[in-house]
Symmetry: C2
Subunit: 505 residues, 2 copies
């Protein structure tokens, strides 16, 4: 798998000398001999990654032991041990065969193998006494070590309040309760890209949350994710808080999973939204393992502009929203971006993806609109013509909120229109039905969804009688304002749709 | 990117001696020096892939020319030329800087660069006369070559009917008009996994369509995609029709794109459905480029069973359906599998993914049910209690058709129920509205969708008043019949839902 290249290359670069990889070199794959599809000189490949390469006989315990001991003495390189092995070792008829990879041995062959290996045939889970003793002895040794370590920790926690605080932050993932007060304010008079707002928020969070570490897959200047006051992790230098993952999105997501599983850090990783496809298998695993990883995906729509369709996400919002257990948040402006980071940090039950714009968007004035902290409920009424039940609802997320608000002001002369900001389906779905029905009253079926992405899935909220202003084809290369015009993301088009819906009744 | 490892390793294995890769080794990435994130010994890495590694000075034409000439003499290895270069070469202030990667030089620096390189400052697109002449001369040479080759081809096509037929098949992608008659019949008495049915269909197609070639990412025995009567492609042996891609899903999808762009073959690739995530970026590109690539994704739901949640697709159907231009087909049984292959082969305007079961499913008896060729319309009425407008519709795809039919027979005593087989949203969406309304009459809002996958997106067809029997969480590891019970994929559950819908009116 390609991810192996990304991870091995990064580990070699970072001189992760404690890392030992045992390579089960049995020369068998599902289709047959590895020689069907692979001729790598594995030793040379790993030397290319600046690893130490050792070899061992996988069926000789002394040989493995010697290799591991040597690997542990490594000064500045990870080690791979090429363990030459035979699949189905000991099986008289399946030894070194591809069928031993993909199929069970079968009862007869299991018996024959036990005979060949000198094991008792009758026992299904046989553990020799000698092995039991070895493990029991090891367990006693480790229990003593653990107890001594725990005593040391306890005394340190009691005597050193600074250490105790750091321990709490790192190992208990403690967050300041008054997180909001650390965060920057944004001037409603100054439009700002949500990626840029996120960058500012992140600087404040970095000061307040010592366990927060992260990085980008070679896009930090664009995703605005560098923690400016803190050093970078590099070869032999692990005290930094910025990780340079290189052009390795898949490994980045996998490394974040590993760090989250290990504990001690709250981690984030970033790249362009369209490249989330590269990281998808590891995002899925984060969701399955309920790991509190945060993804910062910027350049979140066709508004990327000149880079063209390869770099313009269209189906990616739907593709993330359909992953069970992943929370996606697409904030509308700088103020919602702040709230998105707080929601992401408070979500400890699974991964969160924050989707941000490349282009500037208006900063909504929260002195006249509901607070951006309403984002924590997933969707909320941002604006309405007048009090009372809405006669039409515009639902939007991210950069399209500005368009929804501008359009709603024009539609106001025709009917009582509500604008719902819906940055997160998943957070909204967690709300009680009464809340959901208060934001999207079932009686109001005149709905327009505005989102610069595929319509896929939006029927859930727009309903049978609603109307979609979305993008169901790939983007194009042009200045983003030109694309908005061509793709119909204009107030004129929204007002036309509103008129169409109103006249249909 | 990881895909580079997959592709380079495969190219080295296959001894693709004609392949020359020019590596622009400028030591700069977006974040700064490549030394921030990469310490690879590139030369050794490529030697590990069994490539020839040459070096050249990227700013010395003679040096490049010498390297390319040497590479073209390669006997059995691909060649990479490490071209040592300077980014923004000639620019007085941006030479060798990261900002030259991510930002335009700017007008002043462009002028300064032109001065430094001795180019006229006034011209924006300057082509020296000497270069124009060189290209014109080359063009005349190639036009003569092309004309001679075209004459040779024409005479061969006229004189050699076998060659003309082969040319038509390969270069014009000609398919037999009576494709259906080459395909196997399936016995309704013998349940068979759709992956196994696909394997049988593929053997027949291989005989009828000489340009059909493909392979698997080390899963051919499981995906049943080996063309049994034809040899494999291997190092130095390119006449085969089976490709062994190895454990390289992403490269597989990219290679299929390359072959489709080149022409001459109709290509397919296969793996387990859950691993489609690995190939996703290249699937997206196939859709964007409208390439007629066919993906065979087997093991298409939690019915995979014991392999557990990592290997059980849940969100993958939605994740494919949301890609613009990709056609997904999830056939219900062996007969629809045959039709799915025909639909895939006839779709020359974009990629098609065929989703197949690991487990056996009933073969529907087409002597009493509508023909499986109805699949070409995306969805069709498979069965109904009696003539007339349906009072309830069960919509299902793939392995859930069997469940839908069994349930419908029980629900029949309560109301007039219709079972709609819906193997392909995309094919259905292409039908005229009258057809779509005839299959799913808008007046019938009592609908149940049954699909062993995420509900995401199904609101489009089930409507506001319908009901979903889907899977909105990850799977689990157990025998598939146990999982079906736990996840509610039982006739009992479908009948309960039907009762609930009926009593709600």
């Amino acid at each position: 798998e390609g991810i192996s290249h990304e991870a091995f290359s990064l580990a070699g670069h970072l001189k992760l000398k404690k890392l030992i990889v045992i390579y089960d070199d049995n020369r068998i794959t599902i289709e047959g001999s590895t020689s069907l599809a692979c001729s790598d000189d594995v030793k040379r490949r790993f030397q290319g990654y600046r690893w130490t390469v050792l070899e061992a006989d996988a069926h000789d315990f002394q040989s493995i032991d010697r290799a591991i001991k040597r690997a542990k003495r490594s000064k500045d390189r990870p080690t791979i041990i090429l363990c030459h092995s035979h699949i189905a070792h000991g099986s008289p008829n399946k030894h070194d065969t591809a069928s031993a990879h993909g199929e069970p041995l079968g009862e007869a062959e299991v018996s024959a193998t036990k005979r060949a290996l000198g094991l008792p045939e009758s026992e299904q889970f046989y553990i020799p006494e000698r092995v039991k003793e070895l493990f029991a002895e090891r367990r006693r040794f480790l229990e003593r070590r653990t107890a001594a370590w725990s005593r040391m920790l306890k005394s340190r926690l009691e005597s050193d309040p600074d250490f105790a605080m750091a321990w709490d932050c790192h190992m208990q993932q403690r967050l300041p309760q008054d997180l909001e007060k650390y965060l920057p304010a944004f001037d409603p008079a100054k439009p700002i890209a949500t990626r840029a707002a996120s960058g500012k928020v992140l600087q404040s969070l970095a000061a307040a949350i010592p366990q927060l570490v992260g990085g980008a897959a070679d896009l930090a200047p664009s995703t605005k994710t560098l923690l400016e006051k803190f050093p970078s992790v590099g070869p032999g230098r692990y005290e930094g808080r910025n990780l340079h993952f290189g052009i390795r999105e898949h490994a980045m997501a996998a490394v974040l999973n590993g760090m989250a599983l290990h504990g001690g850090f709250r981690v984030y990783g970033s790249t362009f939204f369209v490249f989330s496809d590269y990281a998808r298998p590891s995002i899925r695993l984060a969701a399955m393992m309920r790991l509190p990883v945060i993804y910062v995906f910027t350049h979140d729509s066709f508004y990327v502009g000149e880079d063209g369709p390869t770099h313009e996400p269209v189906e990616h919002l739907a593709a993330l929203r359909c992953i069970p257990g992943l929370t996606t948040i697409r904030p509308a402006d700088a103020t919602e971006t702040t709230a998105a980071w707080i929601a992401a940090l408070r979500n400890t039950d699974g991964p969160t993806a924050i989707l941000l714009t490349r282009q500037n968007v208006a900063v909504q004035d929260r002195s006249v609109l509901p607070p951006a902290s309403s984002l924590e409920r997933g969707a909320y009424t941002l604006w309405q013509t007048a009090e009372g039940d809405p006669e039409m609802i515009l639902i939007a997320s991210g950069s399209e909120i500005e368009l929804a608000l501008n359009s709603a002001r024009q539609i106001s002369s025709r009917c009582r229109v509500r604008v719902v900001s819906m940055p997160s389906w998943e957070l909204f779905q967690k709300q009680p039905k009464e809340y959901r029905d208060s934001v999207l009253p079932p009686a109001c079926s005149r709905r327009i969804v505005i989102e610069a992405a595929s319509s896929f899935g939006w029927e859930r909220y727009v309903g049978d009688r609603g109307c979609l202003l979305t993008l169901d084809h790939f983007g194009a290369s042009a200045p983003c304002r030109v694309l908005a015009e061509k793709f119909g993301f204009t107030t004129q088009r929204v007002v036309e749709l509103a008129d169409k819906i109103l006249s249909a009744r």
